[in-house]
Symmetry: C3
Subunit: 661 residues, 3 copies
Amino acid sequence: MRMGMDYYPEHWDRSMWEEDAKLMQDTGVSLIRVAEFAWSRLEPTEGCYDFAWLDDAIVTFARHGIQVVIGTPTCTPPNWLVKEYPDVLPLDAQLHPHYPGVRGHRCFNSPSMRHYSELIVEKLALHYANNPAVVGWQIDNEFGLHECNCEHCNLRFRTWLQDKYGSIESINSVWGTVVWSGEYSDYSQITTPLGGTRHKNPSYLLDYKRFETDSVVEFQQLQLNILKEHCPNHFVTHNIWSYPMSLDYYKLCEKLDFVSLDYYPSTSPEKAVTSGYSGALTLDLTRGIKRQNFWIMETISGPPGCWMPMWRTPHPGFIRAFAWQCIARGADTLVHFRWRSAPSGAEQFWHGLIDHSNVPGRRFDEYRELCNEVRKLAPLMEGTEVQSEAVILHSHDQFNAFQMQPQVEGMDYFDNIKTIHRAFTKLGIMTDVLSEKEDLSGYKLIVAPSLFLLDPDLASHLEECVKNGATLVLMPRTGVKNENNVCWIRPLPGPLSDAAGVTVAEYDPIGRDAHTIRWQNKSYSCSQWCDILTPQSAEPIAWYEDDFFTGQTAATVHTLGKGKVFYLGTFPEEDFYVDFIRDAAEQSGLHNFPGLPEGVQISIRANESTRYLFLMNLTRKQQTVQLDRTYRSLFDDRNIDQALTMDPYAIEIVVLPYKNA
Amino acid sequence: MRMGMDYYPEHWDRSMWEEDAKLMQDTGVSLIRVAEFAWSRLEPTEGCYDFAWLDDAIVTFARHGIQVVIGTPTCTPPNWLVKEYPDVLPLDAQLHPHYPGVRGHRCFNSPSMRHYSELIVEKLALHYANNPAVVGWQIDNEFGLHECNCEHCNLRFRTWLQDKYGSIESINSVWGTVVWSGEYSDYSQITTPLGGTRHKNPSYLLDYKRFETDSVVEFQQLQLNILKEHCPNHFVTHNIWSYPMSLDYYKLCEKLDFVSLDYYPSTSPEKAVTSGYSGALTLDLTRGIKRQNFWIMETISGPPGCWMPMWRTPHPGFIRAFAWQCIARGADTLVHFRWRSAPSGAEQFWHGLIDHSNVPGRRFDEYRELCNEVRKLAPLMEGTEVQSEAVILHSHDQFNAFQMQPQVEGMDYFDNIKTIHRAFTKLGIMTDVLSEKEDLSGYKLIVAPSLFLLDPDLASHLEECVKNGATLVLMPRTGVKNENNVCWIRPLPGPLSDAAGVTVAEYDPIGRDAHTIRWQNKSYSCSQWCDILTPQSAEPIAWYEDDFFTGQTAATVHTLGKGKVFYLGTFPEEDFYVDFIRDAAEQSGLHNFPGLPEGVQISIRANESTRYLFLMNLTRKQQTVQLDRTYRSLFDDRNIDQALTMDPYAIEIVVLPYKNA
Amino acid sequence: MRMGMDYYPEHWDRSMWEEDAKLMQDTGVSLIRVAEFAWSRLEPTEGCYDFAWLDDAIVTFARHGIQVVIGTPTCTPPNWLVKEYPDVLPLDAQLHPHYPGVRGHRCFNSPSMRHYSELIVEKLALHYANNPAVVGWQIDNEFGLHECNCEHCNLRFRTWLQDKYGSIESINSVWGTVVWSGEYSDYSQITTPLGGTRHKNPSYLLDYKRFETDSVVEFQQLQLNILKEHCPNHFVTHNIWSYPMSLDYYKLCEKLDFVSLDYYPSTSPEKAVTSGYSGALTLDLTRGIKRQNFWIMETISGPPGCWMPMWRTPHPGFIRAFAWQCIARGADTLVHFRWRSAPSGAEQFWHGLIDHSNVPGRRFDEYRELCNEVRKLAPLMEGTEVQSEAVILHSHDQFNAFQMQPQVEGMDYFDNIKTIHRAFTKLGIMTDVLSEKEDLSGYKLIVAPSLFLLDPDLASHLEECVKNGATLVLMPRTGVKNENNVCWIRPLPGPLSDAAGVTVAEYDPIGRDAHTIRWQNKSYSCSQWCDILTPQSAEPIAWYEDDFFTGQTAATVHTLGKGKVFYLGTFPEEDFYVDFIRDAAEQSGLHNFPGLPEGVQISIRANESTRYLFLMNLTRKQQTVQLDRTYRSLFDDRNIDQALTMDPYAIEIVVLPYKNA
């Protein structure tokens, strides 16, 4: 477990390097990430490579005990490349080039882009393979889908479809193109989604999204092959951007050694409570991508801002607290962005730890304290992992499908996941967040938010988990479609109807209209959607209290083998989820942490012998947490009272006896 | 009078046809509309026609006594056509093609589009001319203006102008192009409205809109000629979309046998009261297009939704009630959209009567009841028509002119018509809504909302009607311009000043600022616009109560021949219109229906011997209507109390003695 | 001092000219501006000039004692020019032409545009050089930046950069292009800002804005050269549009004889108080451009409106009052827009003094009264000027830099200037508003709002002014960057730190979050930004009352030589500025006018012997002003009480004894 810094030697006069390196060393920084936007400096003109300046920088920092992660610079094709090989630039739906500006001005399927990317990466790999200071690589920067409609993309899309479907008849049949005369009689008629209207056949659009992900994965793989060949002892990672995301991170990260996350929790006082919860979800999602610990490759060290207005500066304690949140939820290394704010360029006001003034200040002092703490506790954290008996399912395909076809005003797939995850976090129940494609056996509680696209394999796997003892929670808009984004012609929830023991007789997309349900003799508001349920073998457990469906069934439970399936026919308010999940968790034998104040989170990292409990007040208010007994703080061996008063952004870490959550 | 269904055989496995046909027959459906988006199935590749599947479908349904309307599929040019003949695609103001997506991707002036449309329509016409199950045709689908700036459109626009104006000097003079150096020295300099700014010479823009309508009309006429030639015994119609509309429906429908309307009243609880009123206006407008009864070619049978979020599901009674509203206001056949929701394509969630589940449910039961009722009452309705002594004028030209030049914040031509029509409907006074071009003689009360463009012919005709006894109501922004969208250089209301006996001394575009007027010793709020009036031969009847024009005249009445002309100088709140129209109607000898609760409507269909009164509660609330005496319900021969309690969406139809409204 | 009218002879039938001229003469109009959009009438086809109609018009008006300003018509290239020489049209960031519509459809660097502009201007200059009725010229109309990305613009931009920077290495270094691989290896790689993202290197963007200004200035200079050569006895001016503005008006007006302003104060009742203050700033800015009196070339005479909805009609007294406001703040001639509303074209509803009705009305009567007053007082005003001892600095560069990089939600450079200027105006303290580049010596109080870009020369000049006795007020975001838009690597306020005796330890971009400061034992709210200050040699004078920086310094004062420097670390509410400026002004020996009601303004024009005090109630309410003694009205020699009651839009002008403000 170590502390690092994003550093851009090319932004600073050489005379500053030595001083920066020394100050880092004194502060406790042992790693820097470099070069990930430096293509124009590494290859100023075509084929003329200049790595000398980077060598010098690495030597300088190595002298101070600082190791190096090199970012491949392919996110920023230089001007000579763009000018001489215009196929590099992506074309929008009206075939307009996306010219250079805020990075990412490249088509992943462009032959020139691929060729020159491979060349620069190979040169770098060969040059740094045996540099003792270099420990690993970051490929590119924050991949995302970047719509392109160039001829290369069109050709590759057609090939991709041919590989997947074979005949054109098969595509017509699977996509249901007969609607609105969309049938193709020849592959050449298929194009990427061109302009005019965003609203096209949803099966086609979903496949296009998958193709886009595959284009990014392929582009990354070209680099990964080179790096693995020439630098077998180096790790290779990529720094993902946040959620929600159209690009399928599960596919993207499959071949990487580990995942890195760029993490910028909101500093806004208005989000002082919610941003900690959103962050917890992001971190759990990141840990779930490869089901292992991860790195933070960038995180907040000052007010972000750029072309958009600046955010608030991080409140005292904020930088430290959110760093500990990362560790608590599975981060093993923290690289802060960035050492010092850039004096020029479009990102001048995305602040570093040190301001343009070059005078280390309040935030720097806080960071230094953090480094000291991490150094002290790192040996204990070694080999520990987050453990969870509950899991929430997540899918980029579902997200994309809902984006294409918003079901109803106010319904957002990812927001619903956030609400459910927040309920877990408020209850102090650790939860994994995993791809639907994962093996889910072993989990006691599985929450599956809106399995809109549902193929029989997933349905079977979930049914199997239930039969073996799991509790499964289903929600509206489950089983609507098959994986091709075509509706099942059968009652909802489609392939899970039998497992749930219930069918949907009718539904009402209520959107933001106010409605309530009754569950365990209490009323809860609900919104977005109302499935009016007909229990088959299931038991009703909640009922609607409004509208023409007053008294009809709103939720059911169905016992199946050793487990049970809940079907929630609507989206209730968060209080319901808290009560319902507490109940379901208790029935499943999961412990919760009673009485956590709003905004205070816990997390547990454990190895075979020890469990470390993190208590984190991620708010601007003093808060009191009621513990089950006294503990000793790992920071300073202080005694911690049962009634623990936590200052704003205070953190405590204690040893938790095994068998006693 | 019959019940029909929109049905897409090509969306379903053939094995389902028989079952669907049988269920329709059992339910009371005797008509289907088919094929209107099936070009790619009817002509899978250029010149290869395949009608066998449609023949089979028609035979199957005919076996169950179901007749067929065929839609020509020209709204959805297939991919082979788009790919091989790219002139099919319309070009926007920056010459970007509008690629296929949500239908309508075609330029009406494209030679290829016209050629291949004629071919497919001719093939269809020849093939189905003598098919006994086929009764008529729907041309294309929901025509609208679709901006195109291709070379063909440019050439035709120039020809159109040459036909209308002759010399280029004449255009310069009529349009007043001298302003801002817009004079043309050659026809080649005139183009369709290209990009840069939407704000151009308004005379030019209005003529361009007229040209656009004529392009659609011409495109339709090509098909109409073919259908009338080959299928002389079939009717030909078109299904118009809703209002307001830039395309001139009056011109569009001139040569059709009758008009069809696609009618989707809002299911939103927030619009539970207003949507019935908007619908009444839409139906009256539709009836007015050809001054005769019409068809509903599509109407709601489940929650609409598609790319946009879904609406609420229709409340119990909603589908039935709005079906009866259509009949009450002049529909003779109702075709519901659609039998079953599409499993694929962009319109998956525009629900049919049967859900994807394929299990007929609550809505289906309601529809079945409706079919039974219609079957029972159809013989009585035969040959009946809606009668009215009041008329509201409407014009697409006015609408377009106001769209180009919004006069003031909050003023909307069509919204003002809605408000006036709602006042009539609340009073239970039937009103026609007609084109300004119609012969208006015979009406006792004529309301002319904002005759912005006013040519002397219309002014003379209105004056003649007044002299013969009609009451005419004028409103602000009347007589501002001639038909070329050029301002009259004379006091407002221009050519109607003499008839109104009043001139506008000055005006203040008050927008949303709060003002009041006093009329008959009562204050009413007003907004949008204040004409400060100078009565010439007219009498003042209302006065402003605010601002620097306090005490000045806000409205006048002028006796002219046997009639009179009211000039309202502002747009008062709806309560004013209710009071004012009640008053004007009484003076004109028109009966109103006192005490109608909000949202409850009446309508009367009559033939020479009998009048049928429809009472419709188009709200979610129970409401009580006070009748003048007891009646018997035509549905079940029940006695109806004078104090009639109507459940949500309840309908009653009774016989009304002649000479006793 | 004279009254004029914008008149378009080409819009009216010749038969109307004589009558119009006569009515103008009777009313007191002695000047018209003509021809500024009449290119298509002056040169109907290429090379065929027709000035006969204009000659006739000028003769007609001259006969009635009316002189003429000719506008060059280059704002509206005619259709033949656009069609034959398409390089005239500007291309947007996606290279789409901006087609004709609302004027200004021309690229300033287009060779054809320049060539044909020079030709028409030369023809006009030669033709009218010796016409006795013609007194001067207006070049083009309301210049603004009009983004163009054509090849000519690209070439000129590169030349412009080469002239400024020489080598490509120099550009890379000055702009800091190394960030995100933006380095150029060849000039050919530099383009104008093409599409994809607006967010690019800010140094590059700022230079591009400067280049755009220079393109306009160069285009204007071509005309200026011709006019000065052929018409040495005529003045040449340009009518600028309002503020804020990206185009640098200081550069634009450098070579003109005087500046003209187009001034349209808002008629909205909601802005009834604020629009007078905004107008005062606009007028002060205009007077400051060349530090001399100016013309109003267009101003309101009826409700504006056009493609946008119409404004309210000017309230009685409004036209007169705002005309006097112009004179009070330095206007020497007023030309009202326009004589009569246009009957055709896109600007039909931008009303003239006379409506389309052609019946002079209330507004006309008010204008006639105004003409009488001006005629009476003109001799007194001759040679008088506005005098001020306070100055607010303004810069188009700063404005542009902040536009590119909004610092924080709610912070707007120009709005902050408005607030400060309003405080001065409420206090009745006259203030100049000048370019930062001006010599500021002699001012007692200098307010410098956010000198974001701060080069050492400006810092030195300000420091010098202070040492010589001035009071300087600085505000947040001062000294952030050098003139190349690159951040200083030194503590804020950068080059002014020493003069201010303070450094910024840290800042918090608080945006719209509520905070307060304490100054002179009173709390004031503040927003946008909080600099947490470390006084070096300065004294703290205000402190924060919230957040983690409670009790820290919010403002300081530093004595330097004979003067002092205030540094305000945040943007307080307007009340603070009023109190603070009153205090600072008093300390600097500036008199204020105590007790002015909100919306009532004063201004003073003076010559060596006499001072004229203007009292202006620019609101819709009656207001009472407390004077120091009785005066006599210059309008009618009435006695004016010490407690002066002013009706809505009332104006008084009195002689103010020297040495007694």
